[in-house]
Symmetry: D3
Subunit: 132 residues, 6 copies
Amino acid sequence: MELNRFEKGLNKLAEVDGNAGEQVIAALDDIAPDLGKYIVEFAFGDIYCRETLDLKEREMITLASLLTLGGCEAQLNVHINGALNVGIAPEKIIEIFIQCIPYTGFPRVLNAVGVARKVFVDRNIRVAKINS
Amino acid sequence: MELNRFEKGLNKLAEVDGNAGEQVIAALDDIAPDLGKYIVEFAFGDIYCRETLDLKEREMITLASLLTLGGCEAQLNVHINGALNVGIAPEKIIEIFIQCIPYTGFPRVLNAVGVARKVFVDRNIRVAKINS
Amino acid sequence: MELNRFEKGLNKLAEVDGNAGEQVIAALDDIAPDLGKYIVEFAFGDIYCRETLDLKEREMITLASLLTLGGCEAQLNVHINGALNVGIAPEKIIEIFIQCIPYTGFPRVLNAVGVARKVFVDRNIRVAKINS
Amino acid sequence: MELNRFEKGLNKLAEVDGNAGEQVIAALDDIAPDLGKYIVEFAFGDIYCRETLDLKEREMITLASLLTLGGCEAQLNVHINGALNVGIAPEKIIEIFIQCIPYTGFPRVLNAVGVARKVFVDRNIRVAKINS
Amino acid sequence: MELNRFEKGLNKLAEVDGNAGEQVIAALDDIAPDLGKYIVEFAFGDIYCRETLDLKEREMITLASLLTLGGCEAQLNVHINGALNVGIAPEKIIEIFIQCIPYTGFPRVLNAVGVARKVFVDRNIRVAKINS
Amino acid sequence: MELNRFEKGLNKLAEVDGNAGEQVIAALDDIAPDLGKYIVEFAFGDIYCRETLDLKEREMITLASLLTLGGCEAQLNVHINGALNVGIAPEKIIEIFIQCIPYTGFPRVLNAVGVARKVFVDRNIRVAKINS
């Protein structure tokens, strides 16, 4: 039986964000449940389930966009975890942030790296040092 | 003989942006030549020459960041051309923009797709229609 | 028979934006048809069809958000027309922009008023002068 | 006797923000008293005292603008309280944020809803669940 | 006789922007005259007339802020002219933009330099080349 | 012997930021050492060492840009300290923020002043009250 958008979205959310994503949705339940419904249905059910880009590429794009927005440290936290979950190495996550420097300047990149530090500590991850 | 940062940057700029990138630098020569020098040395010589991410991934990240910034249509034009130059299919460029919708909303994505339309027309490119 | 999200969205889009909205969607057909589909289904079918706020309130909020984003003059054009279509007086549209001054500063407000000028000229509208 | 801009502003500030607004102004007294003076005189004395839009509409616009700016959680806190003070129902405040989704994407909306949660807890407010 | 805020503002506006500033205000007269009134009274009458920073420093700060906002090319045009009017050398204007690179990235700086080019051409100004 | 870019940058970083700047670089050592290297080499070695603007002017521009970006409170903290270190009076720092009001609106200025308050408390600084 074919899944509806919400079910497809829930599955994709679990695949990318594991528990953290479900927690974001659950935390909305008492204040803005429809916001959670739209994130599941539209962001994950419609967008993340599309072809042409794989999950790693989608997380890479999402991280670049969240860094550039500024002020989205909570979402960067969820998606740095998501990037690790779909198999992007920690060194590659840092490299995604470094790639943004010419386009956003250093402050936004520093703030994103600061979030990555917290996530890596939480997950007991050591970053292999990349020196050019 | 090892190339200096400027020479490495010029080579990388040519590899990614072909003529368009050199035109940006040349256009700066009479007003802010050092700005052009820093773009070549730092953006291309230092950042684009790094390991860990290939050129296609770097252009993908750059496009996501430029879209999110807003107001950077001139730079989106250069980098949509750059993405095509390094072998990213037009359908994939559109997909990168679509991936940003949940993070930036529709206006910024519409504006980026508008720039892509102009680039594709200039380069006589037809986008294979992707319907989900 | 109950309409699906796309049909509900098309109806709402026509109600708010008349021809202009349909033109935005049609213009996407050869380059990013799914982007148009999501705007119709999600922005108009899901969000604009909701209860609790009427169409005038929704357009008021949309105008404030587009002004604040900056660089979204094309979308401001569509929604200034939309605001007029749903019955918001031109003087009220200008007042919405003026209300933003303490939060965004003058440049973004000047740019939005500039778009309003073009729309009012196109639609042969004279703004009743509001002096405090 | 006619009030001057500062007095009109203080009255309007009290009407919208009650104690919270006065606290923002008072907190500036030892570091940037003129900043507080301009907020009272210009934002509240000039802008908020204008005709054509009522206080509820002004708070609606202000909330949309603050959400879209990003990084203005402190001001969102003051104005979510202000919106409640002028009689906007909590469900309507959430709906204002939901209306922004197509224009700002989900992160900025999530961050604004997060501030609303804290305000509602502080004020012992339960949001009537709105499901579409 | 002491000038009121509007008169002080008009004088300051003329001192900084010459004709260009008056044109911005005049152009608002048929659509949003109060917006023009607030720019004269508040931006120029209150803020620009303050002590502690001279006009050159104020224009320097304004240019940095407008560059960083993005999408404010019209206002950058007015204030690059204003900076020249108050005696900031063209080379110094370019240097102000270059100083922003580490904080905003290259795109916003390129766009500001693009506006400067147009202003310098209009005013027949040649920039003395600054090479480091 | 002539210093290389990194050494020039370290010297300039110490001159502007004293210990705080070195701490930012050191804190990056275990997660993104190249990010620290680029800040030292490019931001301080290339940009801050340039002619045409002195250190006070550079810090003034940096503060205006960081305020306008929003969400860069950590960097504002470093550079408010930097501004004090290079001899900009606390009253002048506040005035730089006030100058931004017409261009960014009040929220971003309030947030910057909030960071200044913390820095002044940490450094036992009392601001001479400037009333207009």
